[in-house]
């Protein structure tokens, strides 16, 4: 599934540039950086409430497909700038993490690491 389809279906607000045509291989949800580093996989979409620029560093490090911020939390300015330069799409949803993840799962985005 492409990121663009997820954006459409979940009605996410895209806050940065980046490649929405990228294929999403699965998803991971966590607010702890090292936990994401340990368990997220390449091409995953990452659901988190952290909005500081280190989310971009971690997403870039793990080559994630994109970041979904929950509870309507907006990325900090520095986060947006860094995401632009690292080409990581950041999207915002007003829903809670639980709701966002549930909808992603319904779309077929699972926690698989294949």
């Amino acid at each position: 599934m492409k990121l663009a389809e997820i954006v459409d279906t979940l009605d996410l607000k895209v806050r940065t540039g980046g490649d929405l045509e990228r294929e999403v291989s699965g998803g991971y949800a966590s607010d702890l950086m090292s936990d994401v580093i340990a368990h997220a996989a390449k091409g995953h979409v990452w659901v988190t409430l952290q909005i500081h620029q280190n989310v971009v560093a971690v997403a870039s490090l793990k080559e994630l497909a994109g970041i979904v911020l929950v509870n309507g939390r907006e990325p900090e300015q520095a986060t947006v700038e860094r995401a632009e330069s690292e080409n990581i799409p950041i999207m915002v949803s007003p829903l809670t993490a639980f709701e966002v993840i549930g909808r992603l799962y319904e779309l077929g985005v699972t926690g698989s690491t294949d």
């Binding site: 607010d31 702890l32 950086m33 090292s34 936990d35 580093i37 340990a38 988190t48 952290q50 500081h52 620029q53 280190n54 989310v55 560093a57 971690v58 870039s60 490090l61 793990k62 080559e63 520095a78 690292e86």
Partner: protein
């Protein structure tokens, strides 16, 4: 604004490439005695708006949609192509540079030119503006691909140098307590290693370890350095700081154990698995630490096999 005197790659190609490199060779032609009434089907089915008229493979004219409409207007039912075609035909030779074609299109306003072989005088193709654009893009794509391959080879520098046993060293300074620059050193390191053409999987593992180590320097120390040594078979990352030291290394390696302050945890750091991530991703991790004196991590990676690259 100063005039940009650089010649773009496209401009260069327009001079370099020849008409017959981009033209369409599979041309729909008609004959002098083709009835005008059949041109409707020719234009419609082939989705073209003009066709060269050929005799013995030589170009004798061109019949366009405009000629066809004119014929309809006049209403001469039994006309053949010869009666309605344009005989004063503009054409290009196959060996002319593309730039000629470009200027001829600009001057004439025509949508297409027939292309004739200079030696034999035979019709060999048709060229449209679309053919030029498509041809240039294709050539640019091929050139770009070749350049990428070339760059990749150039980046094999390490293998050449290492034939005499050289080691490359990089050093990064990390500022303590400064979250704004967090991750900067490790992402620079990642780019540098990638540029050396090393196995992508190894690069990823090194970058992750460097990131975790960098975060530790930022969270717990007043700063430190990340030194990286690359040789033919290993990458060694040495992270040093001057305090405060790890009181109990064994405990620090227990997943979930963390001494990070609350505000750091609120940012999602201090999960207590940073060192574990370093250990799991590396081939060897050695920790030396003395309270009040500082800590030195020595993280070793074996260079991934080329065949595993992906």
């Amino acid at each position: 604004m100063a005039e940009d005197r650089r010649v773009t790659k496209t401009q260069e190609l327009v001079y370099e490439m020849k008409v017959d490199q981009v033209m369409t060779r599979d041309v729909v032609t008609v004959r002098r005695d083709t009835p005008m009434s059949s041109m409707r089907e020719v234009f419609r089915q082939k989705r073209i708006s003009g066709a060269p008229v050929v005799e013995d493979e030589r170009l004798v004219g061109i019949v366009s949609l405009e000629d066809f409409i004119e014929w309809l207007y006049v209403g001469e039912e039994n006309s053949v192509v010869e009666a309605r075609m344009t005989t004063d035909v503009d054409f290009l030779f196959g060996d002319e540079p593309l730039v000629h074609a470009v200027s001829r299109f600009a001057e004439s306003g025509f949508g297409r030119f027939a292309v004739v072989d200079r030696a034999s005088g035979k019709l060999v193709g048709v060229i449209t503006k679309g053919d030029i654009v498509a041809g240039l893009l294709k050539k640019l794509e091929i050139d770009y691909h070749e350049e990428e391959v070339h760059r990749h080879r150039a980046s094999r520098l390490l293998e050449d140098i290492l034939a005499v046993g050289t080691t490359l060293c990089f050093e990064y300074e990390v500022e303590g307590q400064n979250f704004d620059r967090a991750g900067e050193s490790s992402s620079r390191l990642k780019r540098t290693l990638k540029g050396l053409g090393l196995n992508p999987d190894t690069v990823r593992r090194v970058a992750i370890a460097a990131y975790e180590a960098e975060m530790n320097l930022i969270v717990f120390t007043d700063g430190g350095t990340i030194g990286v040594r690359v040789d033919r078979h290993h990458i060694t990352v040495e992270v040093t700081d001057s305090g405060p030291g790890i009181p109990d290394i064994e405990k620090a390696l227990q997943p979930g154990f963390s001494t990070a302050p609350e505000w750091v945890r609120d940012l999602g750091f201090g999960a207590g698995i940073g060192l574990n991530n370093i250990r799991n991703g590396s081939d060897d991790l050695a920790i030396e630490s003395a309270r009040g004196e500082g800590t030195r991590l020595t993280i070793t990676f074996l260079m991934g096999d080329e065949s595993e690259a992906g």
